[in-house]
Amino acid sequence: MTTEFVFPKIHTFPPLYTEQPNSTILSNQLDSWCQIILQYCEFYKITSLNRNGTPKYSQIESLSIDSLPPIFENKSINRSTNDNFRNVIIHHLIYKLKKAQYIDPKKPELGIYVYWRSLVEWGQLLYDYVDSTGQLGTVLTLYELTKSDESGLPDSLKNLDEGLLIKIVKDYLIKQGKAQILMNEDNEIGGVKIV
């Protein structure tokens, strides 16, 4: 993918980069920031961000994640948010909009999953794929569900972060009684059976 994400106009609005004291304005400001994050992540198919807001994982293999335009910085107007404000924004995204979750709640430094597609939608997508390919009830490895070139994965699922895949299975499909996980010899989740 060569095209670059076009930030919304508000991204060039200098006050956006400073935490606003008025609570109503602040709330709007945070919503704007979260919208930018979600649009940005969806555009680049980024499923997780580092704690400082830099991209952590994208489904697009050819994407060089480090050279993407930064979210919290706009060089054209010479503005960037400070760390504290970034945390406020991420906190808003997680707890207010519920569009993100810590990868590991015990280790927030590992970053967050960003849900421009909700876990339920992801789960449905995965289930539909397995169903439509007649693979319900068979054991599938995580490798098969993410990396394999031969299994005819839809683009939406291709190269999905394994951690996120496990989360989708655990937090949605298993709770629905639709899936069970299998451990590999290293006692890590290695496969899943969806029925």
Partner: protein, 216 residues
């Protein structure tokens, strides 16, 4: 969504076996990927070596590349084996399901057949016949036949025809008139000129009309 009670599917021993085979397969695939990258790297290195006029070194890279390629060949065979085995196991599982289905079907069929012995059917049919006779007897005794007599049926049909004529009058009559001339042809022709014939036919229809309200 929040249904925690739904029980997740069970993992059987076969599932585990297939899972392990698939994991091996995935590892092989990863290995192949890795080797392919190594090979690419070595071809580039060899090219570079030739540019630098280090033929010995280039030859070394090419040799090692060849070796990796033959390893990849071998892994393809192994991959074939694994895929084959996975396929066989999955197919056997389906066969098992089919066999189970057949057994179940067979059992049900047997049970149904047991319930439907010829003696029983004969007896039921006999009983049914007896009951029917009884019904007829009772109806006769009460003086109301179970149905209409043939004559009555004919009368009903006749009435229906009349009603139809009345309801869809013009169109039906046209059709009747179209057809009428064909039937009498020769015999009635001489009678047609007689005007009274028409007159008498029409009153007939009219005379039947007053009867209908009574029949209704």
């Amino acid at each position: 969504m929040g249904q925690q009670t739904s029980t997740p599917p069970k993992i059987t021993a076969q599932d585990k076996a297939i899972f392990q085979l698939k994991q091996q397969r995935d590892k092989l695939k990863q290995y192949q990927k890795r080797l392919t990258i190594v090979i690419d790297k070595q071809s580039n290195l060899a090219k570079q070596a030739i540019k630098d006029k280090q033929l010995d070194r280039a030859k070394f890279y090419l040799r090692s590349k060849k070796q990796q390629q033959s390893v990849i060949e071998k892994t393809y065979n192994q991959l074939d084996n694994l895929e084959g085995l996975i396929g066989t196991i999955e197919f056997k599982l389906i066969e098992k399901d089919v066999l189970y289905g057949l057994q179940q079907g067979n059992a049900v069929l047997k049970k149904l057949n047991n319930e439907m012995s010829i003696d029983k059917i004969d007896k039921v049919l006999d009983d049914l016949q007896d009951e029917r006779v009884k019904v007829d007897e009772i109806s006769d005794a009460l003086g109301m036949g179970s149905g209409l007599t043939n004559q009555e049926e004919d009368e009903v049909d006749e009435e229906l025809r009349q009603l139809e004529l009345q309801v869809n009058g013009p169109t039906k009559q046209e059709i009747v008139e179209d057809k009428l001339p064909q039937v009498p042809t020769d015999k009635i022709m001489p009678q047609v000129p007689n005007e009274p014939v028409h007159d008498t036919e029409e009153p007939n229809i009219e005379s039947e009309r007053p009867n209908e309200p009574i029949a209704n």
